[in-house]
Subunit: 416 residues, 2 copies
Amino acid sequence: MKLKNNRNPISVAEAVFRVVERARRTGTETVPLAESYGRILVEPLAATHDVPHFDRSPYDGFAIRSADSAGASRDRRIKFKVIDHIGAGDVSKVTIGDFQAVRIMTGAALPSGADAVVMFEQAIVTEHSFTIRKAFAPQENLSLQGEDMRAGETVVPAGSFIHPGTVALLATFGYGQVQVARRPVVGILSTGTELLDVHSPLEPGKIRNSNGPMIAAQLARMGIPYKMYDTAADQLEECLLTVREALVETDCLITTGGVSVGDYDYLPEIYEQIGADVLFNKVAMRPGSVTTVAVSEGAFLFGLSGNPSACFTGFELFVRPALLKMMGADKTYLPRTTALLAEDYPIANPFTRFIRAVHDRTSVRPAGFNKSNAVSSIARGNSLIVLPGGTRGYAAGDPVDVLLLGVEEGTDEWVL
Amino acid sequence: MKLKNNRNPISVAEAVFRVVERARRTGTETVPLAESYGRILVEPLAATHDVPHFDRSPYDGFAIRSADSAGASRDRRIKFKVIDHIGAGDVSKVTIGDFQAVRIMTGAALPSGADAVVMFEQAIVTEHSFTIRKAFAPQENLSLQGEDMRAGETVVPAGSFIHPGTVALLATFGYGQVQVARRPVVGILSTGTELLDVHSPLEPGKIRNSNGPMIAAQLARMGIPYKMYDTAADQLEECLLTVREALVETDCLITTGGVSVGDYDYLPEIYEQIGADVLFNKVAMRPGSVTTVAVSEGAFLFGLSGNPSACFTGFELFVRPALLKMMGADKTYLPRTTALLAEDYPIANPFTRFIRAVHDRTSVRPAGFNKSNAVSSIARGNSLIVLPGGTRGYAAGDPVDVLLLGVEEGTDEWVL
């Protein structure tokens, strides 16, 4: 029988640091703008022109020469003659002279000679003219060229996630194609003699594999493609073959199970046989203390626990930032906030504890049954509470750190 | 010339309510589990069996009869004989007798006769036996059948967003196919004579269409398919034709521009010509007060402002909950939190104001230039600050409501 390994736990922060430090950049590819959402920008997004690129009217109204409005008052209205009429996209061919104006719609370019805009509600309008009762300053009611962005300015840095606002900017500057990071291809291998396929009927002592599909969904949430390997029984040779195959076919392999110190946990031996550099094999965290990360020929081997809750957490804490760093992302860590614990959590935390939880606005509540082999709480939560190692229990109302994992779902209550 | 419309602003809450109230359910379809991430469950997810469905060991150790351990102490160690050895997925064929034990790995089914587990670290182990120094209670160190979930229990309600944890549960219960809501097909039509295609060089007075691609990305973020119509100049007949076409081809049409009271804003007339029921055409909000929503033959017509920031906000406030409600989602509103304003915002808010902002942990800061025609701040932010109408300016440190819109990106700082 195998001797029990001696493993020295390292802190979660140290473990995350060791992983991120070893991440190597994937390549670059070009995608059409319409497919760029969710990708990572590999080059800074620079303004190719001023925005706006011409002085324009932000209102429906009349373009005038402000000098002509000097001295206007309630008792001394000044009258302007309307000599043209333009909408957004039109350019007036006229040049405005003394007490002349152009009727102008929101977004239209300021006509030659004009330097201010009178809003409709600031004028008394007749068919071909209008009067005003106040003086207008030069540039009053104008959107000035370059006030939003200047040509050449870096508007979004390299490494940024492309979200809908980024897409709007890319479109503005004529980027029909976008240079983005190639997404790593990730292999998923669930190990365990107890694992049945989702389509199989239950058998005594066996359970259906939930970790494989869950990780596939965690990758789908990040928009990252994956290759699912057939579930492997706890047999050294079979696992070893699949790991070798995956190292050729993918940029990174995530395994579940087999990393603990049980009699049939073969991953440690596999790391040894392929000569992998084990970054750590014990982390001071619950769940998932046996999480192991290794690097072999530049490829990551993420050895996640077979316990669903530990597996889920291990992915979000270690795999996610590694994949984002591989793509050159500058924001690799989970979004987070601080919230008030909605109920007592009396258990002490020798190791840092991650608790699947429901976050709503400013409070957070454990999502339920929270053993590391529980699967229900993963589905019920939208966040993880983080309780640092070395702390005692927490009371309702205590502020705690919260990692926001499922906020794409939203809430059932309108904010206002 | 057209007379200025008289429009009565309604509150944002009332506008949202009017929209959601009119949302009609889309149909149902079945997708493979591997494609279910991001969809909406149309049926409650019920447990098809207990979880675990057998008593099992949560540790590596030895299964014993607890009664045999009675009286054990440091000075009176009790010895057990190991008669079998099983891993997860194995079922022992033996029944444990007096002072007998089965060596058992995490996840394996408890052998017949056993009712407790001795962890390795609680035993002194020799080749075929071990001794213990304390008594074990019945069910000590066990994972009991049904402790996580009970057969028949509704684990996730209908209307839930399918996230990775939900996928894990679906897999556990053998749902290889999932009943989900059909996603509505959404049409996008950008209107405006000033609009150029992303591939076109700039022209005087014209700008590239950024709203169309931005909305496409907002839909992509929700996993919703769309049909992009050719940009329409501000011409009544052309727009009317496209709107009629879209009403046949899609479940819902989003237009940008043309909803204000300018001389070339034809959407109000189009709603009239097609006999649409206008739910509102003025909302007490900035930006986007001219946002108009109508319903025609059961299909939504979202008339968003052509100003990028107003367009962005209008989508998230009105289109998003409508689409989610159409799919039967139970959490239709944006995730939100409360945070402390990082800088003064001295402007008064006659209407409710939505400010594109950067949220980090417990603070939030306006993302920059915030006129409704600005596009840079949309790209720079990850959230919206909500300042209720009727309030005066806010000071740094004031708590404000925050809608979390871009949290899929995360943060650049590790939480611990």
